[in-house]
């Protein structure tokens, strides 16, 4: 009985330690969850990626750069509806207030992948690095959904972030 309790205690300590580690792994309070992209239709070499960014920290942080080995260039863009005309413009940075989250989503802020070296195919995934002013580089795996998808399946929360090595 004591042995069993001791084992449970060790396991519990282990679980706490790995949880602490996981929280640390989100990089100074920034966590990137639910990263997904749309499959690219046909020959198009421009794609869009989306994610939710959570700031668990006590200070605002800014997303200042994005990169991925699948694209020559990745930019942060916003969609603006100006007098009925959809305009896509680069964003210098995206600020996430402490205790808040922001969602990159279709029709809003998004990551534009330019000069794709290969088509993004539904069901595949690829790495992407989001660089924050304070938290530094956060590496995520991006799941590719169908062309024009409006979101990733909601149960898929397991692709949370780990800092880039």
């Amino acid at each position: 009985m004591i042995k069993v309790m001791a084992l449970a205690f060790v396991l519990a300590i282990g679980a706490c330690a790995s949880m602490a580690l996981a929280q640390q792994a989100t990089g100074n309070g920034i966590e990137v969850v639910h990263a997904w992209a749309r499959a690219t239709p046909g020959r198009t070499q421009t794609g869009a990626a989306y994610a939710s960014i959570v700031n668990h920290g006590g200070a605002p942080d800014r997303l200042i750069a994005v990169s991925s080995p699948v694209a020559e260039k990745a930019d942060l863009h916003e969609d603006k509806l100006d007098n009925g005309i959809m305009k896509m413009r680069p964003l210098d940075a995206l600020t996430i207030a402490p205790g808040h989250s922001t969602e990159l989503k279709p029709g809003g802020d998004h990551i534009m992948l330019m000069g794709l070296k290969q088509p993004l195919r539904q069901g595949e995934s690829f790495p992407m690095v989001l660089t924050f002013e304070k938290a530094g580089a956060v590496k995520v795996m991006v799941n590719v959904e169908k062309p024009g998808a409006m979101g990733a399946p909601s149960m898929d929360h397991m692709h949370s972030s780990a800092p880039a090595k």
């Binding site: 749309r38 499959a39 690219t40 239709p41 046909g42 020959r43 198009t44 070499q45 421009t46 794609g47 869009a48 260039k73 863009h77 969609d79 509806l81 100006d82 009925g84 005309i85 959809m86 305009k87 896509m88 680069p90 279709p106 029709g107 998004h110 534009m112 992948l113 330019m114 169908k146 062309p147 024009g148 998808a149 409006m150």
Partner: protein, 207 residues
Amino acid sequence: MTLDSRLKQRRRIQFFAIGGTLGAALLALVIALPILVGTHRAAPPAILSGIGGPFKLVDQNGRTVTDADFRGKWLLIYFGYTHCPDACPTALNAIAEALDRLGPDREKIQPLFVTLDPARDTPAVLKDYTAAFRSNILGLTGSAEQIAAAAREYRIAFEKHPTGDGDYGIDHSSLIFLVDPAGKANAFFSDQTAPDRLARRLGEAVG
């Protein structure tokens, strides 16, 4: 049965008789009204008057097509370009998913994707692009003049926007038009319209 209860019963019968007559009259009105008005479909909103007109373009198979080729079909027309990663796939996916939900009524509708970027969107490029949406969306291109003329008929504003690295995007009106079998706009939808809602509205219009 007391006199009082008999009176009550008679009142009840009268009440139901009056109610029934009123109900029947209402029902008759509901049935007759559309026949009297001549249609059960809502007229297109005034904002759409004058929208929709002739076009001459080249389809994704390289054939020249005009609006007359689609006469008798309802059209869903969306103007965009294949290098557009956000708004255009959103709109085309909404169209594809809405048509999937329609059932037999979908046969009455031809979805069209007109590119505003003919320099990059050749028929072959369009064919690969539309195929990805697993629908019968037909891609249309043409000369810059042909496309400008078609866009004008649908009040689509568009303008090239250089992105700094020699590349460009195109700012454009992002609306999905439903066009009736006579070639006139009947309704329009935002590119963010949920497929369920779009399907319901399409079903009401063409059913």
